[in-house]
Symmetry: C2
Subunit: 242 residues, 2 copies
């Protein structure tokens, strides 16, 4: 049985303008890989209502899980929750359990739960909350769409809350070998190796460092014995005369 | 007149598995912003023929420019060029001008231009080559789709070759202010500011550092005078009593 699949939707003008470098995608990719959920696609869109709705609807129909990042804070540009509700065609309003979490948090800090902060308690009808131990304001899951914050520390805490609730698969194992030779000189035997092990994924990632061309070969699969067998043959390929 | 738009398609299992952190998106975003081309969407897909073709066709119809990254080397997992040809419904074969570039390069290095390396001279019919001063093997442009390498140093060199050939727009200017207060306490006046300056994009990016909650507010637009006017009002907002 193939592993469950996932897609990620990153929402944020700041990433598309080059101002900020996204960190959440790389983190999520690693966490999903550990539990055998295959991240198959990532999309990054701007803080634009139509773009967000279209992407959510495309991804939730195509993959088992969709994780979103960004746009659930208290300011005018935080429109993700409303877009999710619109994508599903459901209502959205301040919900009592989410409001109670915020009230407790801000009471403890001696900060007013003003109208702007209360926006973070707006939850689409039918959603389940995702716990946020870092800053209180919850994320939420609506069917297979999991809506989380963009601030990396909060995103990571929400991933920790979410992932144990997802159906995992067979964790992907990987081994890699760094070969200090041009990719073109090992391409042919590498292709033959890939053909011999169709159950494994054999990736070739060239690098260039201090004028040296080399390649990292990564072999991924779920069967440790097969991985070992392929790595043995890869080591022989790496030893071929240049 | 609105600025020209662009999308990016990153091709690579290694990014989706969490093994590698993409660097090309952030670089491209900055370079396009400088010349007034708005990067509106990024997609990351795996080394999967159907996924690549579907994404190329969706993006090339929706945006003025599409830049791809990855999958144009000599190994079995380098399938981008063939997918681009399939997406456009055109043929692909080794082309003499691309072969000549590779031949000269490998002759100078005393390396054989073997069958695997010759794959890098396979160019879809009708494409124009993109120069690669770093490692020789060219990228190519087919209509509005620009196909480039995934290795960051090569990608960056190809961007430098490509960008001057694109139609630019009005460069986006930006100013930012770091405010050491919770996002929720400035959300209301910030929303009013955004409503007062509908020609500007006002983004609010919360951070958390050493237990302090704060926010970076970024104002973007093409008119320097309007930016200055909004920044003056933002400074007043930042000085509001907590």
């Amino acid at each position: 049985m193939p592993n469950p699949t996932a897609a990620m939707l990153v929402i944020g003008d700041e990433i598309l303008s080059g101002r900020t470098r996204d960190a959440n995608m790389h983190y999520l990719a690693g966490e999903l890989t550990k539990v055998g959920i295959d991240l198959k696609e990532v999309r990054i869109v701007s803080d634009d209502r139509d773009a967000i709705i279209a992407a959510v609807n495309a991804l939730r129909g195509a993959y088992d899980n969709v994780v979103t990042s960004g746009g659930i804070g208290p300011t005018h540009d935080d429109i993700t929750a409303d877009c999710i509700a619109a994508a599903f065609g459901v209502g959205i309003d301040v919900r009592n359990d989410a409001r109670a979490i915020l009230q407790e948090r801000y009471d403890a800090m001696g900060t007013e739960l003003n109208a702007a902060r209360l926006r973070m308690a707006r939850i689409p009808d039918g959603a389940a909350l995702i716990e946020n131990p870092v800053s209180g304001a919850p994320g939420f899951s609506l069917e297979n769409v999991h809506v989380m914050a963009g601030v990396p520390s909060v995103f990571q805490a929400m991933v920790a809350s979410l992932v144990p609730t997802l159906t995992g698969g067979v964790p992907m194992l990987s081994q890699s070998l760094r070969i200090n030779r041009g990719e073109g000189s090992i391409a042919e035997p590498l292709g033959a190796l890939a053909a011999e092990f169709p159950d494994l994924s054999i990736g070739s990632y060239p690098f260039q460092q201090n004028g040296i061309y080399g390649v990292n070969v990564v072999i991924r699969g779920t069967d440790a014995g097969r991985l070992d067998a392929a790595m043995t043959k890869l080591a022989a390929i790496a030893g071929l005369p240049a």
